[in-house]
Symmetry: C2
Subunit: 752 residues, 2 copies
Amino acid sequence: MTLIGRGMSRPDATDKVRGEARFVDDLAFPGMLYARVIRSPFPHARIRRLNLTAVAAHPRVHVTVTAEDVPGENVVHVIYDDQPALATGVVRYVGEPVALLAAEDRESAREAEALAQVDYEELPLVSDPLAALEPGAPVVAVPAAAEGKDESPNLFNRMRLLKGDVERAFALADAIVEGEYKTGYQEHAYLETQGAIAVPEEEGAMAIYGSLQCPFYVQGAVAKVLGLPLAKVRVVQTATGGAFGGKEDVPSQVASLAALLAWKARRPVKLVYDREEDILVTGKRHPSVVRYRSAARRDGTLTGVEVDFVYNAGAYQTLSSAVLWRGLLTAAGPYKVPNVRIVGRSVATNTVPNGAFRGFGSPQVIFAHESQMDLLAERLGIDRLEIRRRNALRVGDETACGQRLKESVGILETLDRARELSDWEARLRRVAAFNATHAHRRRGLGVSCVLYGVGLGAKSPFLDKAGAYLKLEADGSVTVAVGTVEMGQGLTAALSQIVCDALGISPDRVHFTAVDTSRVPDSGPTVASRGTIMSGLAVLDAARKLRARILDVARELGIPEAEVSIRLPKIASSFFMKNLDPAVEGWARAEPVDWDPATGLGNPYFVYAYATHVAEVEVDLTTGEISLEDYVAVHDSGRVLNQATASGQVEGGVAQAFGFAVTEEIVEKDGRLKVKGFTTYRIPTIRDVAQSIQIEFVEALYSPGPFGAKGLGEVPLMAGHAAISRAVAHAIGRQVSTYPLSPERVKQALAG
Amino acid sequence: MTLIGRGMSRPDATDKVRGEARFVDDLAFPGMLYARVIRSPFPHARIRRLNLTAVAAHPRVHVTVTAEDVPGENVVHVIYDDQPALATGVVRYVGEPVALLAAEDRESAREAEALAQVDYEELPLVSDPLAALEPGAPVVAVPAAAEGKDESPNLFNRMRLLKGDVERAFALADAIVEGEYKTGYQEHAYLETQGAIAVPEEEGAMAIYGSLQCPFYVQGAVAKVLGLPLAKVRVVQTATGGAFGGKEDVPSQVASLAALLAWKARRPVKLVYDREEDILVTGKRHPSVVRYRSAARRDGTLTGVEVDFVYNAGAYQTLSSAVLWRGLLTAAGPYKVPNVRIVGRSVATNTVPNGAFRGFGSPQVIFAHESQMDLLAERLGIDRLEIRRRNALRVGDETACGQRLKESVGILETLDRARELSDWEARLRRVAAFNATHAHRRRGLGVSCVLYGVGLGAKSPFLDKAGAYLKLEADGSVTVAVGTVEMGQGLTAALSQIVCDALGISPDRVHFTAVDTSRVPDSGPTVASRGTIMSGLAVLDAARKLRARILDVARELGIPEAEVSIRLPKIASSFFMKNLDPAVEGWARAEPVDWDPATGLGNPYFVYAYATHVAEVEVDLTTGEISLEDYVAVHDSGRVLNQATASGQVEGGVAQAFGFAVTEEIVEKDGRLKVKGFTTYRIPTIRDVAQSIQIEFVEALYSPGPFGAKGLGEVPLMAGHAAISRAVAHAIGRQVSTYPLSPERVKQALAG
């Protein structure tokens, strides 16, 4: 009986529920020191003098590190290597690391941090991305490899997607709608803050234990900053309390800093951020400004879109080019659009460098494209769900970037099923009735459709691969190692199901070793909803190879195939006694992709996931407060390997979407983030999202995926926020164009 | 330029010289407890009552464990599973574990240990193996699978090797000599005592960090005592400060005890023996009694040998059957002997269970067979080196057990080269001249020849395999994992040379990960001088597979084969960019062996190593003290991969041989070992063995071995002690038949 598709509980659940999982701050090593980072208090300044004499003189301080100490390259290696590990000469954002110290205990480290004497000369700053593009704006940095230097020294990247004849489409359109949409910061708010322990190992090697998504990124970064061969750097992922993209790029910085101290001290060094520090100095979702024009025929058929969007990258590039790229390829939505002009720009400012966040540059443009669809529907008098239906991509269609979709296009099924589950037409009537009978409360319905290119795509196709190691033990139990991580999303459950299904064994006989970069080949990052599909394929490859060997031995033993699973211990023992190799190496690589940066056209992703969400909200007209009343989420992620963890992803994504659209806000002023931990940064609680969420999966199988699976993790957030914000607009009868929809903004909209 | 054969320095050397290697007692884990073992003070007793109330009441004691707590099987899994992890009902040797405790600190653990209340009823004991075979002797145990129950309840194993017609050979012999030879305990005296830390890991798994030779033995033992699947037990070898066989079987016990505590406490537990405890309660070299008769023709040609030998196994079997087996197959020496009758018995006594020790049951019979050769030489008036030469095995000959030697038989070359290097005939004259001119000092020359069956042989052919994991990193550095351990013998250097040679890279680009059972398949134990040959073959297999992939990529890149090594970083980068699998799994299994337990005949080993040693000693006739004056060691271990580490093995082996033959003694009385650490147990110092040791290798290549290598580690000790003891006999003109040749025994021999 196959486990595939069933709701097997997560192997990591028991430890986490019991409090026995070991997070990085639960770990210690003999002789371990505690690190603090001496950071810039200014958004833009010249370092005139850096004096650590008093720090080093603290009796409990063991070591200090400045840029001069760096044995390798003084960079946080991500994509462009423009960010120094430790600032030299100039600091470019509040919180930028300037120097490091490690002390015998945490408290002393804090005390010593305050003893650093750094003289700064403040420089003019720019924190707004549009202002940064103006001529004469302060220059944040000289970008290492800017695509757009001609336009502005602060332009990190500029990307275009050009298809068809947009002018003509707009000239001939029956309807044109336009809008400007803005979104703010979103903080990842993972339960566990950033942390890493660097442990010098034998023979000049360095081990990193950390809370992270991308062990191989960290391996590369630490090797670079220490000047070591990759084989001398080993990264072990510890139990990770949430990530959401926040542990994609940032841990390379955290680990590099810890490693520098450990390298100099020749002792283990722990660097764990506290919550306020974590929120202030680590990258978030890119604030955005999206200008969007849509052209359609009378029947609602889109004929063209024109999009210009700008992302605030912060002081260094980190992943902004990749974030921008995904925004570019998502901006037209899951719709057929024959004529397209999209231009995206990521801009340097004197603010914290932003990085990966669930959705990765797509939620910003989704807010825009779904708002636009509603505007068109309204303009043309078409039902909002129906207009999406008419434009939705189907097998054989071409995406905005010209990719012909050969299979696995489930958007229409998600729309139709969402319509049924939400009882769309009847619910519209009920909402109208409610609104007619309530003076100070308004209800509204919103629908949102998204497409999501699974995996890393043609921006970095060399990352879409994965390795796995499987070993049949002499008692028939199985050891598995993979290179992608469990961070709460349920990956281990899904992979365990694949192994169990392929080998016909029960989950308690399978053990996943801690993810360690020295165990398996670079399997890319655990991002882009690629864990299940890529590691799933690698594990499946290994399991099938092992299965073939098992069947060979079974035949020799005269065991019929039907009894192989039940008699696996005997077969495994025979492997052992006959000196047969019980270990296999699995490998997977994604289907080829291609993309032309000149036009933005091509086949940028090997497959897409889809979703339709329908939200019902209620707005208190007196307070401006928004509550979520009912929710339907229908996803096409291909084959769902584990119903329980997949549903968990959707529930969590909807909560995070509510936060993005409604409650979560960080005000930035003069390069300073006005936020004080979770006191002022309001993440949704169970009371905000405890309403019924109906979740269903329609499974448009992707034939090269493991059992037809695609990817899921990021999609619920992407679809969720727009369903909610569109429901708010529907409730109050006003467009809303800036996230978050705080009570103040709602009341402002009502007044406008 | 190949590294093979060169004296590359050991990758682990720098850390060890600097004191930066991390031995098990250097490690700690958060929440770690310290264990003590409550042990039997009696050699044989019934446990009437076990009361740990006072132990548990100690304020710093966290947990106690008795046999009732054991979740799996209450055994120390080695071969027969006859030894309980914790005694129930009866204790059978002084030091047998009865219960366990773990406390918050080491001192409290010691205090609490003294609080255990155990009532014992003493039972009659037997500690002499010959006495134990007498009818009516106290019964030590009921052996689990005794081969010889008919003879005595205390007989653990009886093995025979029967070939030809021994009666006739002796009847027709021109010369017959006979002797009885006795050897005592030898303590391993590794620098680092036994130690393990058991660490409960996530998802119900247990990790063991320990000083050990056989990680997979420990994995199996811990899985059995905890009742876990093998996949849930991971054993990591920490830097190991010497082993010599002492960390073959004993760590399974140490780790099982630590694991029981950690399992119950759900916290890490460290169990490290102190020196006195280690010497008293861990197995040593089996004390022996060997009766030997040899028959020869007038020209010195051996026509028959008859051997009866008895090993004192101690209270449990551990590895005694395997130790006995190697004794059986070594007893005839490296000589052609047409008629053979050898009977070996291992006997249970109420003493510490003996186990593996460098040479593994062979030094005892080598003492005998080399003494016999000298007796024959003397009887027949043939030069001692010459008589060995005449009998030495050659290619095409048959060993005592009927194995036809097809290749790689270098004994004659070692003999001839040792004769040259020692200047044997001239030296004999010089010695005679010295003795003629000194009243109270006598010099003597001894020669010793040995053969050594490499690997585990037909007693456990399922252990002679090995796995390796190699990964080409994106920068061209290489990560390697193997399943056999570095314990000071230089394995990592040899394996590194193989990898570097196969891939054409320099050693600083290769990194060996810590040995961890979850990384590679069960690769058998690191014993029987099998590390280089078996892991060498596995690494070579992996490296050749990787090399083939590298060449494919090089061809695609247009890189000629001659430039592949120098341009490996570029090729590795291409692997990465093209998503090619850079990981390979290597596997090796030994050539088949066979052996018939009924006759003792067959092909028990796939190949043999050989050596001839020549020692010159001086005996002070007044004090009975022996000093080593000069030494020649010539070995055939096939191809020597690393001259430096191979020479180190020989030097160390000669020192340990000197200890075995001359200085090291433990007196046993009524089941109690009379020894107090190194105060009374005298291991040789640099002053005992600092004399010139000339070392050479003749390389009779073994074609299936890596570059023709065989094995070396145990052979120097095996050959050394007999060269030294025979030199003593030559010096004093008296036979010596009991080890160690303490001053008292020498003077006794002189008086006799």
